[in-house]
Amino acid sequence: MITRILSIAAAEFRIQRRNRWLASATLLMLLFALALTFAGSAPTGTLGVDLLTVAVASMTTLAVYLAPFLALMIAFDAIAGEAERGTLGLVLTYPLSRGEMLLGKFCAHLSVLAIAMTLGLGAAGAAAAMAGGAGPDSLLALARLIGTAILLGASFLALGYAASALSGSAAAAAGLAVGLWLVLVVLYDLGLLGAVVFDDGGAFTRHVFPWLLAANPADAFRLWNVSASREVALISGMAGAGDALPPWAAPVSLFFWPVAALALAGAAFRRVDA
Protein backbone atom coordinates (compact mmCIF):
# COMPACT_ATOMS: atom_id res chain seq x y z
CA MET A 1 0.00 0.00 0.00
CA ILE A 2 2.77 2.43 0.96
CA THR A 3 4.70 1.80 -2.28
CA ARG A 4 1.60 2.48 -4.34
CA ILE A 5 0.81 5.70 -2.44
CA LEU A 6 4.43 6.80 -2.78
CA SER A 7 4.61 6.04 -6.50
CA ILE A 8 1.49 8.15 -7.13
CA ALA A 9 2.94 10.87 -4.88
CA ALA A 10 6.29 10.86 -6.70
CA ALA A 11 4.67 11.13 -10.14
CA GLU A 12 2.29 13.83 -8.95
CA PHE A 13 5.05 15.86 -7.33
CA ARG A 14 6.97 15.75 -10.60
CA ILE A 15 3.92 16.94 -12.48
CA GLN A 16 3.46 19.85 -10.05
CA ARG A 17 7.12 20.80 -10.45
CA ARG A 18 7.03 20.58 -14.25
CA ASN A 19 3.79 22.55 -14.43
CA ARG A 20 5.62 25.24 -12.44
CA TRP A 21 3.04 25.13 -9.64
CA LEU A 22 5.73 24.61 -7.05
CA ALA A 23 7.73 27.62 -8.27
CA SER A 24 4.75 29.94 -8.70
CA ALA A 25 3.18 29.06 -5.34
CA THR A 26 6.47 29.62 -3.54
CA LEU A 27 7.15 32.87 -5.37
CA LEU A 28 3.63 34.17 -4.72
CA MET A 29 3.91 33.45 -0.98
CA LEU A 30 7.36 35.04 -0.81
CA LEU A 31 6.42 38.24 -2.64
CA PHE A 32 3.25 38.85 -0.67
CA ALA A 33 4.89 37.97 2.64
CA LEU A 34 7.81 40.32 2.00
CA ALA A 35 5.54 43.15 0.86
CA LEU A 36 3.28 42.84 3.89
CA THR A 37 6.16 42.51 6.32
CA PHE A 38 7.76 45.75 5.29
CA ALA A 39 4.59 47.69 4.57
CA GLY A 40 3.25 46.71 8.00
CA SER A 41 6.39 47.57 9.95
CA ALA A 42 5.16 51.00 11.12
CA PRO A 43 3.54 50.08 14.49
CA THR A 44 6.71 48.51 15.94
CA GLY A 45 7.73 51.45 18.05
CA THR A 46 4.32 52.29 19.49
CA LEU A 47 3.52 48.74 20.64
CA GLY A 48 6.97 47.90 21.93
CA VAL A 49 7.37 44.56 20.11
CA ASP A 50 10.00 43.36 17.66
CA LEU A 51 9.47 43.55 13.89
CA LEU A 52 9.11 39.76 13.51
CA THR A 53 6.04 39.79 15.78
CA VAL A 54 4.45 42.45 13.63
CA ALA A 55 5.39 40.53 10.53
CA VAL A 56 3.80 37.32 11.87
CA ALA A 57 0.59 39.22 12.58
CA SER A 58 0.40 40.60 9.04
CA MET A 59 1.42 37.29 7.48
CA THR A 60 -1.34 35.54 9.46
CA THR A 61 -3.87 37.72 7.67
CA LEU A 62 -2.14 37.01 4.36
CA ALA A 63 -2.04 33.24 4.86
CA VAL A 64 -5.74 33.11 5.74
CA TYR A 65 -6.48 34.15 2.16
CA LEU A 66 -3.55 32.70 0.23
CA ALA A 67 -3.13 29.22 1.74
CA PRO A 68 -6.73 28.15 0.98
CA PHE A 69 -6.53 29.77 -2.45
CA LEU A 70 -3.31 28.00 -3.46
CA ALA A 71 -4.56 24.70 -2.05
CA LEU A 72 -7.82 24.87 -3.99
CA MET A 73 -6.01 25.85 -7.20
CA ILE A 74 -3.77 22.80 -6.90
CA ALA A 75 -6.57 20.42 -5.87
CA PHE A 76 -9.55 21.21 -8.08
CA ASP A 77 -8.13 19.37 -11.09
CA ALA A 78 -7.10 16.24 -9.18
CA ILE A 79 -10.08 14.01 -10.01
CA ALA A 80 -12.33 15.84 -12.48
CA GLY A 81 -9.35 16.81 -14.65
CA GLU A 82 -8.01 13.25 -14.77
CA ALA A 83 -11.44 11.84 -15.56
CA GLU A 84 -11.86 14.44 -18.32
CA ARG A 85 -8.46 13.80 -19.92
CA GLY A 86 -9.01 10.05 -19.73
CA THR A 87 -5.98 9.28 -17.55
CA LEU A 88 -8.11 8.07 -14.63
CA GLY A 89 -9.65 4.97 -16.25
CA LEU A 90 -6.31 3.34 -17.02
CA VAL A 91 -4.72 4.04 -13.62
CA LEU A 92 -7.70 2.56 -11.82
CA THR A 93 -7.34 -0.76 -13.68
CA TYR A 94 -4.04 -1.20 -11.84
CA PRO A 95 -4.03 -2.74 -8.36
CA LEU A 96 -4.52 0.66 -6.73
CA SER A 97 -7.50 1.65 -4.62
CA ARG A 98 -9.11 5.03 -5.04
CA GLY A 99 -8.22 5.86 -1.44
CA GLU A 100 -4.55 5.11 -2.14
CA MET A 101 -4.62 7.29 -5.23
CA LEU A 102 -6.18 10.17 -3.29
CA LEU A 103 -3.67 9.85 -0.44
CA GLY A 104 -0.79 9.78 -2.94
CA LYS A 105 -1.94 13.01 -4.54
CA PHE A 106 -2.53 14.52 -1.11
CA CYS A 107 1.06 13.75 -0.05
CA ALA A 108 2.46 15.38 -3.21
CA HIS A 109 0.23 18.44 -3.07
CA LEU A 110 0.81 18.92 0.65
CA SER A 111 4.57 18.83 0.03
CA VAL A 112 4.19 21.55 -2.60
CA LEU A 113 2.21 23.69 -0.14
CA ALA A 114 4.60 23.00 2.71
CA ILE A 115 7.56 24.07 0.59
CA ALA A 116 5.76 27.24 -0.55
CA MET A 117 4.71 28.15 3.00
CA THR A 118 8.05 27.37 4.62
CA LEU A 119 10.12 29.20 2.03
CA GLY A 120 7.71 32.11 1.53
CA LEU A 121 6.78 32.84 5.13
CA GLY A 122 10.16 31.72 6.47
CA ALA A 123 12.16 33.99 4.16
CA ALA A 124 9.97 36.99 4.92
CA GLY A 125 10.24 36.19 8.63
CA ALA A 126 14.01 35.93 8.39
CA ALA A 127 14.15 39.28 6.59
CA ALA A 128 12.02 40.88 9.32
CA ALA A 129 14.16 39.37 12.08
CA MET A 130 17.33 40.69 10.50
CA ALA A 131 15.87 44.14 9.91
CA GLY A 132 14.05 44.66 13.21
CA GLY A 133 15.06 41.98 15.68
CA ALA A 134 13.44 38.81 16.95
CA GLY A 135 13.10 36.95 20.24
CA PRO A 136 12.31 33.36 21.21
CA ASP A 137 8.61 34.25 21.40
CA SER A 138 8.42 35.75 17.95
CA LEU A 139 10.44 32.89 16.43
CA LEU A 140 8.01 30.42 17.99
CA ALA A 141 5.12 32.49 16.57
CA LEU A 142 6.69 32.24 13.11
CA ALA A 143 7.10 28.47 13.39
CA ARG A 144 3.50 28.20 14.56
CA LEU A 145 2.35 30.34 11.65
CA ILE A 146 4.10 28.11 9.10
CA GLY A 147 2.82 24.90 10.70
CA THR A 148 -0.78 26.09 10.95
CA ALA A 149 -0.70 27.52 7.40
CA ILE A 150 0.25 24.04 6.15
CA LEU A 151 -2.62 22.53 8.16
CA LEU A 152 -5.00 25.14 6.75
CA GLY A 153 -3.75 24.30 3.27
CA ALA A 154 -4.32 20.58 3.98
CA SER A 155 -7.96 21.28 4.88
CA PHE A 156 -8.54 23.13 1.64
CA LEU A 157 -6.65 20.58 -0.46
CA ALA A 158 -9.05 17.93 0.79
CA LEU A 159 -12.05 20.21 0.25
CA GLY A 160 -10.74 20.83 -3.27
CA TYR A 161 -10.64 17.05 -3.95
CA ALA A 162 -14.22 16.75 -2.73
CA ALA A 163 -15.24 19.57 -5.10
CA SER A 164 -13.30 17.86 -7.89
CA ALA A 165 -14.97 14.49 -7.29
CA LEU A 166 -18.44 16.01 -7.08
CA SER A 167 -18.09 18.03 -10.31
CA GLY A 168 -18.61 16.55 -13.75
CA SER A 169 -15.80 18.54 -15.37
CA ALA A 170 -12.61 20.37 -14.46
CA ALA A 171 -14.26 23.70 -15.29
CA ALA A 172 -17.16 23.00 -12.93
CA ALA A 173 -14.67 21.90 -10.26
CA ALA A 174 -12.76 25.18 -10.64
CA GLY A 175 -16.02 27.11 -10.20
CA LEU A 176 -16.96 25.11 -7.14
CA ALA A 177 -13.46 25.65 -5.68
CA VAL A 178 -13.72 29.42 -6.10
CA GLY A 179 -17.17 29.29 -4.52
CA LEU A 180 -15.79 27.34 -1.54
CA TRP A 181 -13.03 29.87 -1.06
CA LEU A 182 -15.45 32.77 -1.22
CA VAL A 183 -17.89 31.22 1.24
CA LEU A 184 -15.45 29.81 3.80
CA VAL A 185 -12.81 32.55 3.72
CA VAL A 186 -14.78 35.72 2.98
CA LEU A 187 -18.55 35.45 3.30
CA TYR A 188 -18.54 33.31 6.46
CA ASP A 189 -16.74 36.05 8.38
CA LEU A 190 -18.96 38.76 6.95
CA GLY A 191 -22.05 36.81 7.98
CA LEU A 192 -20.74 36.32 11.50
CA LEU A 193 -19.78 39.98 11.73
CA GLY A 194 -23.29 40.98 10.69
CA ALA A 195 -24.80 38.65 13.28
CA VAL A 196 -22.55 40.01 16.03
CA VAL A 197 -23.46 43.58 15.18
CA PHE A 198 -27.15 42.71 15.13
CA ASP A 199 -26.90 40.77 18.42
CA ASP A 200 -25.19 43.75 20.09
CA GLY A 201 -23.28 41.91 22.79
CA GLY A 202 -26.02 39.39 23.63
CA ALA A 203 -25.88 35.67 24.31
CA PHE A 204 -25.01 34.85 20.67
CA THR A 205 -21.90 36.99 20.75
CA ARG A 206 -20.70 35.59 24.06
CA HIS A 207 -21.50 31.89 23.72
CA VAL A 208 -22.23 30.88 20.11
CA PHE A 209 -20.07 33.19 18.03
CA PRO A 210 -16.65 31.98 19.30
CA TRP A 211 -17.57 28.36 18.54
CA LEU A 212 -18.82 29.24 15.09
CA LEU A 213 -15.53 31.00 14.55
CA ALA A 214 -13.54 27.94 15.61
CA ALA A 215 -15.65 25.67 13.40
CA ASN A 216 -14.38 27.34 10.22
CA PRO A 217 -10.83 26.19 9.37
CA ALA A 218 -9.75 29.66 8.21
CA ASP A 219 -10.92 31.30 11.44
CA ALA A 220 -9.54 28.45 13.53
CA PHE A 221 -6.18 29.14 11.91
CA ARG A 222 -6.43 32.81 12.85
CA LEU A 223 -7.62 32.05 16.39
CA TRP A 224 -4.80 29.59 17.01
CA ASN A 225 -2.10 32.00 15.91
CA VAL A 226 -3.64 34.90 17.78
CA SER A 227 -4.55 33.26 21.07
CA ALA A 228 -1.19 31.50 21.37
CA SER A 229 0.72 34.75 21.32
CA ARG A 230 -0.30 37.74 23.41
CA GLU A 231 1.73 40.11 21.24
CA VAL A 232 0.24 38.89 17.99
CA ALA A 233 -3.22 39.21 19.55
CA LEU A 234 -2.45 42.74 20.61
CA ILE A 235 -1.56 43.78 17.07
CA SER A 236 -4.33 41.98 15.24
CA GLY A 237 -6.99 43.06 17.75
CA MET A 238 -8.55 39.60 17.85
CA ALA A 239 -7.99 38.92 21.54
CA GLY A 240 -11.68 39.01 22.50
CA ALA A 241 -13.02 36.02 20.64
CA GLY A 242 -10.07 33.78 21.50
CA ASP A 243 -10.44 34.35 25.22
CA ALA A 244 -13.98 32.95 25.26
CA LEU A 245 -12.81 29.54 23.97
CA PRO A 246 -10.85 26.75 25.63
CA PRO A 247 -7.29 26.68 24.20
CA TRP A 248 -7.84 23.32 22.44
CA ALA A 249 -10.80 24.48 20.33
CA ALA A 250 -8.88 25.98 17.38
CA PRO A 251 -6.20 23.23 17.14
CA VAL A 252 -8.85 20.50 17.27
CA SER A 253 -10.77 22.20 14.46
CA LEU A 254 -7.67 22.63 12.32
CA PHE A 255 -6.66 18.97 12.75
CA PHE A 256 -10.22 17.71 12.30
CA TRP A 257 -10.87 19.48 8.97
CA PRO A 258 -8.23 17.77 6.77
CA VAL A 259 -9.28 14.34 8.04
CA ALA A 260 -13.01 14.94 7.65
CA ALA A 261 -12.64 16.60 4.25
CA LEU A 262 -10.42 13.75 2.99
CA ALA A 263 -13.04 11.24 4.11
CA LEU A 264 -15.68 13.25 2.26
CA ALA A 265 -13.50 13.46 -0.86
CA GLY A 266 -12.85 9.71 -0.69
CA ALA A 267 -16.58 8.95 -0.47
CA ALA A 268 -17.30 11.27 -3.40
CA PHE A 269 -14.43 9.78 -5.45
CA ARG A 270 -15.84 6.27 -5.04
CA ARG A 271 -18.95 7.41 -6.88
CA VAL A 272 -17.05 8.83 -9.88
CA ASP A 273 -17.27 6.77 -13.08
CA ALA A 274 -13.83 6.06 -14.42
Binding site: N19, P95, L96
Partner: protein
Protein backbone atom coordinates in the same frame (compact mmCIF):
# COMPACT_ATOMS: atom_id res chain seq x y z
CA UNK B 1 -6.69 -30.43 -26.80
CA UNK B 2 -10.28 -29.19 -26.98
CA UNK B 3 -11.42 -25.79 -25.79
CA UNK B 4 -13.32 -27.30 -22.88
CA UNK B 5 -10.33 -29.19 -21.62
CA UNK B 6 -8.24 -26.03 -21.40
CA UNK B 7 -8.86 -23.87 -18.44
CA UNK B 8 -10.29 -20.58 -19.68
CA UNK B 9 -8.49 -17.43 -18.51
CA UNK B 10 -11.59 -15.28 -18.89
CA UNK B 11 -15.14 -16.52 -18.38
CA UNK B 12 -18.39 -14.62 -18.36
CA UNK B 13 -21.56 -16.54 -17.55
CA UNK B 14 -24.99 -15.08 -18.32
CA UNK B 15 -23.59 -11.59 -17.90
CA UNK B 16 -26.29 -8.90 -17.82
CA UNK B 17 -26.10 -5.17 -17.22
CA UNK B 18 -29.15 -2.95 -16.85
CA UNK B 19 -29.38 0.81 -16.45
CA UNK B 20 -32.85 1.39 -15.08
CA UNK B 21 -35.10 -0.41 -17.52
CA UNK B 22 -32.80 -0.54 -20.50
CA UNK B 23 -30.66 -3.63 -20.80
CA UNK B 24 -27.30 -2.82 -22.39
CA UNK B 25 -25.92 -6.34 -22.03
CA UNK B 26 -28.11 -9.46 -21.97
CA UNK B 27 -27.01 -12.92 -20.98
CA UNK B 28 -23.51 -12.82 -22.47
CA UNK B 29 -21.52 -16.03 -21.95
CA UNK B 30 -17.99 -15.93 -23.29
CA UNK B 31 -14.89 -18.06 -22.64
CA UNK B 32 -11.41 -17.06 -23.71
CA UNK B 33 -8.63 -19.63 -23.34
CA UNK B 34 -4.99 -18.74 -22.60
CA UNK B 35 -3.24 -17.76 -25.82
CA UNK B 36 -6.49 -17.24 -27.69
CA UNK B 37 -7.15 -14.03 -29.62
CA UNK B 38 -10.82 -13.12 -29.75
CA UNK B 39 -12.09 -10.25 -31.87
CA UNK B 40 -15.02 -8.49 -30.22
CA UNK B 41 -17.16 -6.79 -32.85
CA UNK B 42 -20.29 -4.71 -32.67
CA UNK B 43 -21.78 -1.37 -33.64
CA UNK B 44 -21.17 1.65 -31.45
CA UNK B 45 -23.43 1.17 -28.46
CA UNK B 46 -23.70 -2.61 -28.93
CA UNK B 47 -22.28 -3.15 -25.46
CA UNK B 48 -18.56 -3.72 -26.17
CA UNK B 49 -17.31 -1.05 -23.78
CA UNK B 50 -19.79 -2.13 -21.14
CA UNK B 51 -18.48 -5.70 -21.40
CA UNK B 52 -14.87 -4.50 -21.13
CA UNK B 53 -15.63 -2.26 -18.16
CA UNK B 54 -17.46 -5.07 -16.38
CA UNK B 55 -14.47 -7.37 -16.84
CA UNK B 56 -12.18 -4.63 -15.51
CA UNK B 57 -14.37 -4.30 -12.45
CA UNK B 58 -15.14 -0.64 -13.17
CA UNK B 59 -18.84 -1.53 -13.36
CA UNK B 60 -20.89 -4.02 -11.37
CA UNK B 61 -22.99 -6.57 -13.28
CA UNK B 62 -26.77 -6.65 -12.76
CA UNK B 63 -26.73 -10.41 -13.29
CA UNK B 64 -24.43 -13.30 -14.16
CA UNK B 65 -20.83 -13.69 -13.17
CA UNK B 66 -17.29 -13.03 -14.38
CA UNK B 67 -14.10 -14.90 -13.63
CA UNK B 68 -10.77 -13.27 -14.48
CA UNK B 69 -7.94 -15.79 -14.18
CA UNK B 70 -9.75 -17.32 -11.23
CA UNK B 71 -10.44 -14.03 -9.50
CA UNK B 72 -13.34 -11.67 -8.94
CA UNK B 73 -13.18 -8.70 -11.37
CA UNK B 74 -11.83 -5.56 -9.73
CA UNK B 75 -10.03 -7.50 -6.98
CA UNK B 76 -6.32 -6.76 -6.57
CA UNK B 77 -5.41 -10.20 -7.97
CA UNK B 78 -7.67 -9.76 -11.01
CA UNK B 79 -6.24 -6.31 -11.70
CA UNK B 80 -2.70 -7.65 -11.49
CA UNK B 81 -3.65 -10.33 -14.02
CA UNK B 82 -5.38 -7.96 -16.45
CA UNK B 83 -3.88 -5.63 -19.04
CA UNK B 84 -6.04 -2.88 -20.52
CA UNK B 85 -5.51 -0.55 -23.44
CA UNK B 86 -8.29 2.05 -23.57
CA UNK B 87 -9.51 3.36 -26.91
CA UNK B 88 -8.30 6.92 -26.38
CA UNK B 89 -5.24 6.19 -24.30
CA UNK B 90 -4.11 9.28 -22.37
CA UNK B 91 -1.20 10.00 -20.07
CA UNK B 92 0.12 12.93 -18.05
CA UNK B 93 1.66 15.31 -20.55
CA UNK B 94 4.29 16.58 -18.12
CA UNK B 95 5.82 13.15 -17.44
CA UNK B 96 8.28 11.38 -19.73
CA UNK B 97 7.45 7.99 -21.21
CA UNK B 98 9.95 6.32 -18.93
CA UNK B 99 8.55 8.02 -15.81
CA UNK B 100 4.96 7.16 -16.71
CA UNK B 101 5.80 3.52 -17.37
CA UNK B 102 7.88 3.33 -14.17
CA UNK B 103 4.88 4.59 -12.19
CA UNK B 104 2.71 1.88 -13.75
CA UNK B 105 5.42 -0.72 -13.03
CA UNK B 106 5.48 0.24 -9.35
CA UNK B 107 1.69 0.11 -9.17
CA UNK B 108 1.72 -3.34 -10.77
CA UNK B 109 4.44 -4.51 -8.38
CA UNK B 110 6.95 -5.02 -11.19
CA UNK B 111 10.63 -4.05 -11.03
CA UNK B 112 11.39 -0.66 -12.58
CA UNK B 113 14.28 -2.17 -14.54
CA UNK B 114 11.66 -3.94 -16.69
CA UNK B 115 10.63 -0.55 -18.12
CA UNK B 116 13.44 0.26 -20.54
CA UNK B 117 13.33 -3.11 -22.40
CA UNK B 118 9.59 -2.63 -22.86
CA UNK B 119 10.08 0.86 -24.30
CA UNK B 120 12.64 -0.63 -26.66
CA UNK B 121 10.22 -3.40 -27.58
CA UNK B 122 7.60 -0.89 -28.78
CA UNK B 123 10.16 1.36 -30.48
CA UNK B 124 10.12 4.21 -27.96
CA UNK B 125 13.66 3.86 -26.62
CA UNK B 126 14.82 7.14 -28.14
CA UNK B 127 11.78 9.05 -26.89
CA UNK B 128 11.94 7.49 -23.40
CA UNK B 129 13.08 10.72 -21.75
CA UNK B 130 10.96 13.13 -23.76
CA UNK B 131 7.72 14.43 -22.25
CA UNK B 132 4.58 12.64 -23.35
CA UNK B 133 3.17 16.06 -24.29
CA UNK B 134 5.56 16.02 -27.25
CA UNK B 135 4.53 12.51 -28.42
CA UNK B 136 2.51 11.84 -31.56
CA UNK B 137 -0.74 9.86 -31.44
CA UNK B 138 1.14 6.77 -32.64
CA UNK B 139 3.78 7.13 -29.93
CA UNK B 140 1.15 7.46 -27.22
CA UNK B 141 -0.53 4.33 -28.57
CA UNK B 142 2.84 2.51 -28.43
CA UNK B 143 3.30 3.64 -24.84
CA UNK B 144 -0.20 2.36 -24.10
CA UNK B 145 0.78 -0.95 -25.62
CA UNK B 146 4.01 -1.04 -23.58
CA UNK B 147 2.08 -0.77 -20.32
CA UNK B 148 -0.04 -3.80 -21.27
CA UNK B 149 3.21 -5.80 -21.43
CA UNK B 150 4.16 -5.05 -17.80
CA UNK B 151 4.27 -8.16 -15.70
CA UNK B 152 2.74 -11.48 -16.64
CA UNK B 153 -0.81 -10.65 -17.62
CA UNK B 154 -3.20 -13.57 -18.04
CA UNK B 155 -5.92 -11.51 -19.72
CA UNK B 156 -5.60 -8.49 -22.02
CA UNK B 157 -8.44 -6.22 -23.14
CA UNK B 158 -7.48 -4.02 -26.06
CA UNK B 159 -9.99 -1.41 -27.22
CA UNK B 160 -9.30 -0.28 -30.81
CA UNK B 161 -5.55 -0.92 -30.47
CA UNK B 162 -4.76 0.30 -34.01
CA UNK B 163 -7.08 3.28 -34.41
CA UNK B 164 -5.32 6.26 -35.95
CA UNK B 165 -2.09 4.39 -36.65
CA UNK B 166 -0.09 4.16 -39.88
CA UNK B 167 0.27 0.73 -41.54
CA UNK B 168 3.74 0.07 -40.11
CA UNK B 169 2.60 0.84 -36.57
CA UNK B 170 -0.48 -1.34 -37.08
CA UNK B 171 1.74 -4.20 -38.08
CA UNK B 172 3.87 -3.66 -34.96
CA UNK B 173 0.78 -3.68 -32.77
CA UNK B 174 -0.33 -7.05 -34.13
CA UNK B 175 3.18 -8.39 -33.69
CA UNK B 176 2.99 -7.50 -29.99
CA UNK B 177 -0.48 -9.05 -29.82
CA UNK B 178 0.81 -12.29 -31.33
CA UNK B 179 3.69 -12.28 -28.88
CA UNK B 180 1.31 -11.89 -25.95
CA UNK B 181 -0.83 -14.74 -27.26
CA UNK B 182 2.25 -16.92 -27.68
CA UNK B 183 3.08 -16.16 -24.04
CA UNK B 184 -0.31 -17.53 -22.98
CA UNK B 185 -2.28 -14.31 -22.53
CA UNK B 186 -5.97 -14.50 -23.37
CA UNK B 187 -6.73 -11.52 -25.61
CA UNK B 188 -9.98 -9.73 -26.33
CA UNK B 189 -9.59 -7.15 -29.10
CA UNK B 190 -12.48 -4.78 -29.67
CA UNK B 191 -12.17 -3.10 -33.02
CA UNK B 192 -13.84 -1.91 -36.19
CA UNK B 193 -10.84 -2.64 -38.38
CA UNK B 194 -12.42 -5.82 -39.75
CA UNK B 195 -9.88 -6.62 -42.46
CA UNK B 196 -7.06 -6.65 -39.92
CA UNK B 197 -8.94 -8.77 -37.43
CA UNK B 198 -9.86 -11.30 -40.07
CA UNK B 199 -6.23 -12.35 -40.47
CA UNK B 200 -5.07 -11.81 -36.93
CA UNK B 201 -7.56 -13.47 -34.58
CA UNK B 202 -8.59 -17.01 -33.71
CA UNK B 203 -12.22 -16.39 -32.94
CA UNK B 204 -14.88 -13.77 -33.66
CA UNK B 205 -17.48 -12.68 -31.12
CA UNK B 206 -20.19 -10.32 -32.33
CA UNK B 207 -22.36 -8.26 -30.02
CA UNK B 208 -25.59 -6.78 -31.34
CA UNK B 209 -27.85 -4.79 -29.05
CA UNK B 210 -26.28 -6.31 -25.98
CA UNK B 211 -26.56 -9.93 -27.10
CA UNK B 212 -23.81 -12.24 -28.27
CA UNK B 213 -25.09 -13.17 -31.74
CA UNK B 214 -21.98 -15.01 -32.93
CA UNK B 215 -19.01 -16.61 -31.19
CA UNK B 216 -16.91 -18.96 -33.29
CA UNK B 217 -13.96 -19.22 -35.65
CA UNK B 218 -14.15 -17.31 -38.92
CA UNK B 219 -14.42 -20.54 -40.95
CA UNK B 220 -17.25 -21.92 -38.83
CA UNK B 221 -19.12 -18.62 -38.94
CA UNK B 222 -18.82 -18.48 -42.72
CA UNK B 223 -20.04 -22.07 -43.06
CA UNK B 224 -23.04 -21.40 -40.89
CA UNK B 225 -23.89 -18.12 -42.57
CA UNK B 226 -23.56 -19.77 -46.00
CA UNK B 227 -22.99 -16.46 -47.71
CA UNK B 228 -22.51 -16.37 -51.48
CA UNK B 229 -19.09 -15.93 -53.00
CA UNK B 230 -18.94 -12.97 -55.36
CA UNK B 231 -17.43 -13.52 -58.77
CA UNK B 232 -16.55 -10.49 -60.83
CA UNK B 233 -16.03 -10.97 -64.54
CA UNK B 234 -14.39 -8.47 -66.83
CA UNK B 235 -15.80 -8.94 -70.34
CA UNK B 236 -14.11 -8.24 -73.63
CA UNK B 237 -15.31 -4.88 -74.94
CA UNK B 238 -18.80 -5.19 -76.39
CA UNK B 239 -19.30 -8.70 -74.95
CA UNK B 240 -20.68 -7.68 -71.55
CA UNK B 241 -24.32 -7.99 -72.67
CA UNK B 242 -23.72 -11.45 -74.00
CA UNK B 243 -21.95 -12.57 -70.79
CA UNK B 244 -24.80 -11.23 -68.67
CA UNK B 245 -27.42 -12.91 -70.86
CA UNK B 246 -25.55 -16.21 -70.53
CA UNK B 247 -24.74 -16.21 -66.82
CA UNK B 248 -27.18 -13.73 -65.26
CA UNK B 249 -25.84 -11.48 -62.50
CA UNK B 250 -25.55 -7.76 -62.31
CA UNK B 251 -23.77 -5.26 -64.57
CA UNK B 252 -21.36 -3.18 -62.53
CA UNK B 253 -20.05 -0.79 -65.15
CA UNK B 254 -19.38 -0.80 -68.85
CA UNK B 255 -17.64 -4.15 -69.11
CA UNK B 256 -17.95 -5.93 -65.72
CA UNK B 257 -20.54 -8.41 -64.48
CA UNK B 258 -20.92 -9.51 -60.88
CA UNK B 259 -22.29 -12.94 -59.98
CA UNK B 260 -23.15 -14.42 -56.63
CA UNK B 261 -22.96 -18.11 -56.05
CA UNK B 262 -23.23 -20.46 -53.10
CA UNK B 263 -20.09 -22.13 -51.81
CA UNK B 264 -20.91 -25.53 -53.35
CA UNK B 265 -21.74 -24.02 -56.76
CA UNK B 266 -18.39 -22.37 -57.29
CA UNK B 267 -16.81 -25.02 -59.49
CA UNK B 268 -19.88 -25.48 -61.67
CA UNK B 269 -20.09 -21.74 -62.20
CA UNK B 270 -16.39 -21.53 -63.06
CA UNK B 271 -16.67 -24.18 -65.76
CA UNK B 272 -19.60 -22.28 -67.31
CA UNK B 273 -17.44 -19.18 -67.30
CA UNK B 274 -14.56 -20.90 -69.00
CA UNK B 275 -17.08 -22.22 -71.57
CA UNK B 276 -17.58 -18.65 -72.74
CA UNK B 277 -14.08 -18.62 -74.15
CA UNK B 278 -12.42 -15.30 -74.86
CA UNK B 279 -15.57 -13.26 -74.15
CA UNK B 280 -14.31 -13.08 -70.54
CA UNK B 281 -11.02 -11.34 -70.07
CA UNK B 282 -10.56 -11.67 -66.31
CA UNK B 283 -12.15 -13.33 -63.27
CA UNK B 284 -11.98 -12.23 -59.64
CA UNK B 285 -13.36 -14.39 -56.82
CA UNK B 286 -14.25 -12.79 -53.53
CA UNK B 287 -15.18 -15.19 -50.72
CA UNK B 288 -17.43 -13.65 -48.01
CA UNK B 289 -15.30 -11.26 -45.95
CA UNK B 290 -15.54 -10.65 -42.25
CA UNK B 291 -17.43 -7.50 -43.14
CA UNK B 292 -20.08 -9.55 -44.97
CA UNK B 293 -20.30 -11.95 -42.04
CA UNK B 294 -20.52 -9.11 -39.58
CA UNK B 295 -23.42 -7.56 -41.54
CA UNK B 296 -25.07 -10.94 -41.79
CA UNK B 297 -24.97 -11.73 -38.07
CA UNK B 298 -25.94 -8.23 -36.98
CA UNK B 299 -28.81 -8.18 -39.51
CA UNK B 300 -30.00 -11.64 -38.54
CA UNK B 301 -30.49 -10.43 -35.03
CA UNK B 302 -32.52 -7.41 -36.09
CA UNK B 303 -35.17 -9.44 -37.87
Amino acid sequence: MTDDAREAALVTEGLTKRYGRSEVLSDVSLRVAPGERVALLGHNGAGKSTLVRLVLGLLRPSGGCIDVAGHRPGSAAARRATAYLPEQVAFHRALTGREQLSTFARLAGEPVKAVMPLLERVGLARAADARIGTYSKGMRQRLGLAQTLLGRRRVALLDEPTSGLDPVSRHDVYEVIDEMAAGGTALVIASHALTELEARTDRIAILAQGRLVADDSLAALSRRADLPTRIRLTARSGAADMVQAELGGRRVNGCAVELRCAADQKMAQLSRISGLGDAVRDVDMMPPSLEDLYRHYCGEHRQ
